[in-house]
Symmetry: C2
Subunit: 346 residues, 2 copies
Amino acid sequence: MTTDLTTSAPATGPPTLDEVALLAGVSRATVSRVVNESPKVSPEARVAVQAAIAQLRYVPNRMARSLVTRRTDTIALVLSEPNSQVFSDPFFASIVHGVSAALAETELTLVLLTARDAREQQKIARYARQGHVDGVVLMSLHSEDLLPDILTEAGVPLVLCGRPYDGRSVAYVDADNQGGARVATEHLIGLGRSRVAVLTGPMDMIAGVDRHAGWVAATTDAGRRPDPALVAHGDFTEAGGEAAMARLLDQAPDLDAVFVASDPMAVGALRALRAAGRRVPEDVAVVGFDDADVALTSDPPLTTVAQPLDVMTTELVELLGRQIDGRAEPAESRTCPTRLVRRASA
Amino acid sequence: MTTDLTTSAPATGPPTLDEVALLAGVSRATVSRVVNESPKVSPEARVAVQAAIAQLRYVPNRMARSLVTRRTDTIALVLSEPNSQVFSDPFFASIVHGVSAALAETELTLVLLTARDAREQQKIARYARQGHVDGVVLMSLHSEDLLPDILTEAGVPLVLCGRPYDGRSVAYVDADNQGGARVATEHLIGLGRSRVAVLTGPMDMIAGVDRHAGWVAATTDAGRRPDPALVAHGDFTEAGGEAAMARLLDQAPDLDAVFVASDPMAVGALRALRAAGRRVPEDVAVVGFDDADVALTSDPPLTTVAQPLDVMTTELVELLGRQIDGRAEPAESRTCPTRLVRRASA
DNA sequence: TTGAAAGCGCTAACAT
DNA sequence: ATGTTAGCGCTTTCAA
């Protein structure tokens, strides 16, 4: 099954650099230069090579190339989360969309990897260590994740989407959750509301913690005591928001404003408020937190804290790129500002 | 920057086979045999090599291996669909979950790729042609997709998830949509209903076409004329289902049963029925089509046609595996039977 | 500007 | 059972 090199016998598999070189009447090196757009090639040679490439439908073998360049030109976006329905999370979908949009201009390819359990995490770690990707963007939503350590220790360029729960030294990009929550709360206070509640997320997610902290800070700064009765935790879902809002109304019937720390929860909260006969915003002013880069299509339209998802995804690939190129400070991170988007209601 | 081969100087990058061999006091070939679990290795050698591997934290370089084996041990699941919110589609999420579960037992890795436009399709085609993956499972929901042709023509093993719209000769795995729709309709007719409507999907999706065809077949077989007034098309979404149901009630106020061709649409349809003051199932009997392998948690619970997603995903990887190993008939395909799951209501 | 030659890290005959 | 050897397809000095 040895290929006869002396004849121009039809190739066994896909065409190689040598076959192109043969057809174009130049050397391998010249073909390589053309493929890699080196300027040091004569126009005639270039044309001949390009013709040969087209004729043979030549595509460079990335494995062979990677072997020498040590680059794969692909980065992984890994979703480390046991719950498989995270796909349905609009925030996740938006991040995927943003990152791949940021990569669209590039020659880089994005591969999506999911790790539902420790075993799959190991598999991904192996995949990365084996040199399949140049770097990884990790969306890890909870605290007990092995991947950051494994990857860092293995020297795989890594940027987290979302600040790590513990203060570990890893590069990350996050929205300014605390600042956003603070602005939202201040807005509500500025509206003259006296009992401003917060419907925050689970406290094992940093976003939940930070958004709660922002409410506490704004409340304290206004010279008020952060009343525990004004706090309820949802799970960032619509149903969770509805239940938590009901609890809040129970704990503090006199509340006249609420900052809801995610937009699905806000939809649920509005439903609970309606069910309780409270009017929005006359009776209760509501500010939401936009997790999905989508204007909240609620009824009534809500003022929201918007996350700059486009900025975040851009920073994500920018930072990862710097790490890959070796021109990044250790654990260089970004916290992207949010902004308050005022809509009709409050 | 040349590595000094005469000394055991600390390696520049990750450890290589040679370094392991040196440390274990054997040859490269023996290390390779241990790594690849060849039986032709003495216990002593094996132990020594394993120790060296552990000590050096050696991980084989997949690029180098692929270059010679011509295998990457990774397959791609590509989602070819312009609408980026497909991620939210529970059917898609279920397929991803099922395929990766089927692969969990294997050494194969699954990478997810998305193609929102022609440009991204080309990028993916290139990615596959460059030898990054051993094969691809393609979820292409609409008809005008370039990828099947490009990949087939490039000789990339390919299995479609869902029957291709045109009768092209490609391997695919699909649910028996027509059979399922037929059974659902027959069930409704068997219930004694005389005006059985259908709320089907868009006709540029084969699933929509097939499910509609099943309704037509069952209706005709029952000696009835398929009344156009009893047909409405949704877009497989909840909102689309609600709107289409409203249209249906408008076109045929006398309908007393409806087969709804997707479960999100069924949820919407129930809402529309409720809004119109129709009672389910007394007034209108409803059968849904379960796209997400999730028991419909509707109110009231609905009898549904269940797709065997676990079977489908298993077949998907099985078929692709056969193609990769070169032991598959050309365009060998599977149509997986559905079954009717009766619940309280109808 | 071009070509010749030396590998990248690994597997797979082929010897031994 | 083990080592030696020859590449896989490509990039990249180094000469010419």
